[in-house]
Amino acid sequence: MTNEIETIIHTQDLSLFYGDFQALHDISLPFAQRQVTALIGPSGCGKSSFLRSLNRMNDLTSGTRSEGAVIFEGTNILEKKIDVVSLRRRIGMVFQKPNPFPKSIYDNVAYGLVVNGIKNRSIVAARVEKSLKQAALWEEVKDRLHKPALGLSGGQQQRLCIARALAVEPEILLMDEPASALDPIATQKIEELILELKERYTIIIVTHNMQQAARVSNTTAFFYMGRLVEVGSTNALFTKPVKKETEDYITGRFG
């Protein structure tokens, strides 16, 4: 595959422990630049823990410990000296439930910029507009930018969170079930957005919705019981998976 040339981030024998429990076992997985990779697997398989390792979100849970490495542009980001704020600017995250701040639409998007020290108002305003456009939300909110973000619908709130993540111009966007709390129309908008965003960003998405994984991703990785079972092109994985566990999971014959 072309992965070798264009890999932007990869894990090397990554293991993750929550106290005594080992959630991930020696996972080595490369991610191609400007591609969408879907992580699938049953609940508790480790896919979200893996995703959260890619920008050190697991640090926020006490008692976690990692082994192995996550290499982003030649640096192991698991090292203590890494500045996680700047790391999370470059590797942004969108969560399952839309979580806008109880502030205005504008301030939600501007927040990351201000935190990162950008004070020039016209730069901030331009970036807010650009991000909302990229998140396909601009047309819906341009006349009420200073209204509370919590007044938006669930689907709009999620696109706002995507705009917020995009505002700081990350290189990688991690998405943890970004559409699972949304209705089918809002879900479709998010999926279209993912397909547009991959022109510029590398996207890694965790999803329980297999059709969604099949529709939006170039590569799919199947996790089971903390292990990476199979990774391959999405087309191949959904038509002719190599491993029996993958076949059983995606055809619903599990357990």
């Binding site: 959904f238 038509t239 076949e247 995606i250 055809t251 619903g252």
Partner: protein, 222 residues
């Protein structure tokens, strides 16, 4: 939900096998009609073709329903797609049996007791065997048998070429019999097409088993 899908797939599979049995039967009848120039049997074959057309449509509708409702993946998806394609091949084979029946009616009218005829029995038997084996390979998920069917297709093509040479010579010797002889040649064309559809079925079985599309992967004898 998955048990539901398995049940639907099993129903569709049974429908297809019943269509397969009917098509094989129709093919056998066409061979009988051809061997005996039996006009009555030929007429019956032509009239009954609609029955197969209806079954084909029913199977396709079931498949579309399952695709829409279950969105199957992996082996479920492959087996459903394969059913859709085999369904189409079977309908075409039955059509060709009806075409042979039409040739039989013309040949019976124009045959002369002392005139040229061509013994299609070996070719017809070979093509019928290919159909049987391709359906068996589907039933037993047997890609080795399916490979054998692909090889047999070359023999049938060679038989068609032999019929062509032989009938071409007859036309040059008895040009006033050209109409009859061209109908006689068309039979070989129909049989050869039936063998092609049996080959398609075999290739679809190989796809179902291995997930590889092997069509067009070797040279065509056509």
């Amino acid at each position: 939900m998955t048990i539901h899908l398995q049940r639907e797939l099993e129903t569709i599979r049974r429908m297809l096998l019943s269509l397969g049995a009917l098509t094989e039967d129709r093919f056998r009848q066409a061979i009988h009609a051809l061997n005996d120039l039996d006009v009555e049997l030929a007429t019956e074959i032509i009239e009954k073709d609609q029955e197969i057309d209806l079954k084909e449509v029913q199977i396709e509708e079931e498949c579309l329903k399952v695709l829409a409702l279950h969105q199957p993946v992996a082996s479920d998806l492959r087996s459903l797609v394969v059913v859709i394609k085999i369904n189409n091949d079977l309908e075409r084979i039955a059509d060709l049996a009806a075409n042979i029946a039409m040739r039989v009616k013309t040949l019976a009218k124009k045959a002369s007791p002392s005139g040229f005829t061509y013994d299609y029995r070996p070719m017809a038997e070979k093509a019928a065997l290919m159909l049987k084996m391709s359906l068996d390979s589907f039933v037993h998920d047997d890609d080795a048998m399916a490979e054998t069917v692909r090889l047999m297709d070359r023999e049938v093509n060679a038989m068609r070429n032999a019929a062509y040479e032989s009938i071409k010579k007859a036309i040059s010797q008895t040009p006033h019999r050209a109409g009859y002889l061209m109908n006689l040649f068309l039979v070989s064309r129909h049989l050869e097409r039936m063998a092609d559809h049996a080959t398609n079925i075999a290739e679809e079985v190989i796809y179902m088993r291995r997930g590889e599309i092997i069509r067009h992967t070797d040279f065509m004898d056509e």
